[in-house]
Symmetry: D3
Subunit: 259 residues, 6 copies
């Protein structure tokens, strides 16, 4: 317990209560997953990154960071390699929806009226939307209609100029940035001891036909588990990404949660 | 990513896969909660403690620790003060059941056949049982009938002699040990920077009638959120608890997961 | 139909309506199970006993007894032998939760505002709590926020002195009192024609390690299905239990549902 | 416990096990409800009648009667007056489906392969079908594909000649026989102490337009709660019904569950 | 998009909005199924017919027809041949309930307060009731308590005189009118190009014992999939049915949705 | 009924059965929605278009088109304007998932082993994936593990060259192509009588910040309901789109469902 921590769960309840009960202080909730990220990175990337973004944003805005969701929705072949890969450990859609609905309602009970979800795992996106929709519906039934929820994926804050700087040879697209330059650079900047870039498999960006097949076809995705090569990743790129995204998110939150 | 980490999500997928695919290596899964723990402790106690127990046990047994469940079932008045208290952030029973069912099935898909759940939050207990039951049922439908799951709450490994040593003035019972000597001593031993013992409220052990009332009656529980006084807690007691419980759990796992 | 019956379902609707519509008269709802209770007792013990306690309490308090839940949650190895035993016939947790939620809401629709659940089966406990929580939540959504629910298990009203009288050789603990002296004595007092004490298997109290294993291990529990020996049971002890528990429950209800 | 009881829950588990484990002995499961039945009858009619039919059929066929479902699906205006009436206490459809699914699967676990559901409440019908369908589906997933389930409502065994004898002035149709001559006569034959025929309201048979309206329109149904007058009911008619229906059901079960 | 269409989904949103936002204009919602209808008719009968009835009624009343439910509840052996037949494509009960609940709530959000469900598939009936009940419950939680829903099956508007005209040799009953004279005549009147009466199998009306068996027994139902012979069907009879039913439904809606 | 129809539900069951029972013939299942599409188009666009694409593809491949899903998932602000707009009529995520799961399993029961989902509504995407995943899981439990499902959204088959031809002034991106040039051109080519291009509101492409807000902010999206202007739409462009997409889809299906 630390009276000054930005992590809500590191506060005692009286300290937390004093911070949130009037509804002004936003709660930042990282939604991650346990998912394979290639040979060169651990499986906690989608938790570590949104937690760190949330922490930095909280430092600048006075928000509090809630405990992350450590498991997320199933990996999709075109954005995470597919849910048949070893290590990837996923929830059914309904489970993620219910968990998010429950937690949002609990924060509302505490008085919180501003929540920002920091998504770290692309496939969570639509189930996050449904979880919010159900939570807002039930809150309304319970008489609370002033909750506001912002949802963001940090990579959406990387602007075009930054993309050009980071991907001088061309940007493969966010969808196949799984285990690629973006995530690897961020991990190199933040948790270099958890990256073994020398183990990364270099390969051409994954290229998929314009449709999906189920069960997924292992031959469609690189055997490494990454969808684009991380070889060009660097801590410097990670620092750039951190700065650009944190700045963008801070600005967004100041707009949506003024004063 | 570290090839030697005991935390499964800190491994790359090939390293993880090599460890678990033959089913021998147990997965230790901490099930926590975000719950108020009085004025003197943070709200992450029920996550930090089972994670640390799991880590120590994994170090001795070669098991791997999965990412913890960071939210748990609703706090009950007689064992956690009640779910109306600020900060306590809980899941519906069905949500916890579904999340556990999903994750157990995913580990089974990886090849895991031995799982030990480290419960850190009393109220999770019965929903854990249901989650396991549903997972084993569905695994059987899918043709897997050799999964074995052990469930434990670390405090159940404190033997009578240790209780006498730790509670020379008498043991109030595990149920009202919420935020009391046990948890506080463990936190003092492990995370002293997160404890403010001087802020603890001293009070007589909570005493409840032999029935429950809903909605809970705030006047039944101490306003501090603890159910027994943590004043007699100490890091020394925490060390004793750590040793006794880790020894007991290691022995249990060697019995249930031999070789 | 009897205008004077304490059983709600034995009343005509106009008589029932006249009794409950102003919300003063409590409904007592027995929650049982169909569960094996050893060689010497039938499988309806967990229904018969709470129904009888409810009936006696209703006679003294003017409450009404609702039809019992005849099936309950899965038997747990350490408190009921395990759900693999023949005859034990159980519901999924979600089913019990839903059934209780539905019925509580229906009573509220009738005008009832005081309900006491008489649990006869240990394993129902946490799913009862969840059922109540969901019912109160939905009632609140529907504009009803003055429902009060008491939950009790009759054995919790046996005080320490009575325990000493009934178990002169030492009390094994409620958890393993499955099919033991308590239940058998009560059945001998109330339904002696349904007990064959001569068929009871005498054995040492079941002793379990401080953790659970799934699937359950048949070798952990006595083959008889009882967890402690019923040999010392007697109708006299049953009468004592009846009196102590009924007195305690009546007092509790007068406290919680005054006037 | 009685070794000879036809009620499954009155047996000890070894006696029950010996009876059912080879799958030959049918389980008869009464599905009732708690529902208003007019001014002259109690609200347990839909439980008492199928239980008694099941008991009589079990006596003649060697089957066992399981504990009844004491709550059922919502009363419909055209067949039970509507679910807004006081005293009627109903389950959501999904709850009834789940409860039946669970219990059928448990009997299958015991070895039972022949089950007959005795429905006592018209509105249960379609949810019973769904419960069976889900149970058979899951049993098949678990490797059991030889379960056979018969479903019946006792009134469907009343043949045309008997109808003429019982309703000399014309038969109003089963749908509006709620609390009318059929049920009242059976109750007079079986539980005369629970009937107050002098309190029955005489009225013309309810007549409804060929569509339904929700919320139900109280002005459509007689205020008494019955849909046809019970005034012509008699114990003699009840005896005729008992004989005709029991004979018919016994014959049906001998056909479907030969030897 | 047509400003004058009676089909709601053929309007642009501003045109639709102008029509429905004050709650006066009823929405007619056809609930069908994809179900085998014998050798002589396609599997869309239960969609085409209620859509056409709704269209005609809308033309006369100013109502709007919503997109139909194209899949419905499982076919029952005694009313549709059984859900094991090829081509019949059904939903679980819970799915149909949820879909109807969702859609009713959405129409309420638009301002609609009058809805009439046109059921084209007998087996949908009870799940429709549950869907409405859940929708009205949730709407009430959300503060909307003036929604009125009418449910009808068009065949219930065929009066006794018409039955005599259409079935001069005797009426087999609606339950076994599956693929018989009623539906075939309507299809001949409306979609003659979709009927091959020469392929119809002539057979005696299906005759079932007074109980059901699961899994269904194929030998109980005619192999053709129809439950009564369609041989006497004609376009003329179809025209009579159309007129009688449309007149009856229009009258009912004018009664229930006056002005 | 037409023996030659490409619409599965226009076949009689014997004709359908003959086509599908050996598993070779694919079922094409359009998944639509009822959703506002601006002032100039009706609300059935997301049904009409995938049905027509499926029909054309079926004509060329011998596949069969199943009845469409007429309702879909909630409109998202950035891709459909938001689910608060009048006329948009949506399902909860769980409902869509369940409906798809049910229908896929039914087709499998018929013998179908090749299914292609034609999605017409962007927001359905992830719930379609979950529905397939649950269906394949349950089919596997039931012993069927050779089902193959292709999912596509027709717009993904528009190649870069075609985009340049259709959007000479620059392509706004698929996400905001809601009610824009693509859909409007297709409707002009296929259903010109349902388009009122003169009513279309011309506006700059919607531009959103890189995050979402809930409840949605009406000021973020054009009041018209379209996200990009349809003014440049034409039947000619529609014909180009039809040809390009149909060709692409036919090729894809020949690849995935060879022979």
């Amino acid at each position: 317990m630390s009276e000054q921590s930005v992590f809500a769960a590191e506060l005692s309840w009286p300290d937390y209560d004093a911070r949130v009960r009037d509804g002004k202080v936003p709660i930042l909730l990282p939604i991650g997953s346990m998912e394979q990220h290639g040979h060169h990175m651990p499986m906690n990337v989608d938790v570590l990154l949104p937690v760190e973004f949330a922490r930095r944003v909280a430092m600048q805005t006075g928000a509090l960071v809630a405990p992350p969701f450590t498991y997320g929705y199933k990996s999709h072949q075109k954005s995470g390699g597919g849910n048949y890969l070893p290590g990837t450990t996923s929830l059914d859609g309904a489970t993620l929806v219910a968990a998010l609905r429950d937690v949002l309602k609990e924060f509302a009970r505490h008085g919180v009226r501003r929540i920002c979800l920091f998504n770290g795992h692309f496939e969570n996106s639509w189930f996050i939307i449904e979880g919010i929709d159900l939570a807002l519906r039930e809150l309304k039934w319970g008489g609370i209609d002033d909750m506001k929820v912002v949802v963001l994926s940090y990579w959406d804050f990387v602007d075009k100029d930054t993309i050009k700087r980071l991907y001088p040879k061309g940007f493969p697209g966010w969808e196949i940035e799984h285990g690629g330059v973006l995530e690897t650079s961020l991990m190199l900047a933040l948790h270099p001891e958890q990256v073994r870039l020398e183990r990364a498999i270099d390969h051409a960006p994954a290229s998929f036909p314009p449709y999906d097949v189920y069960p997924p076809k292992p031959e469609w995705a690189p055997a490494s588990g990454t969808l684009s090569s991380p070889k060009e990743a660097s801590a410097e790129k990670g620092e750039i990404l951190l700065q650009v995204c944190v700045d963008g998110i801070v600005k967004a939150l100041k707009t949506e949660f003024p004063n």
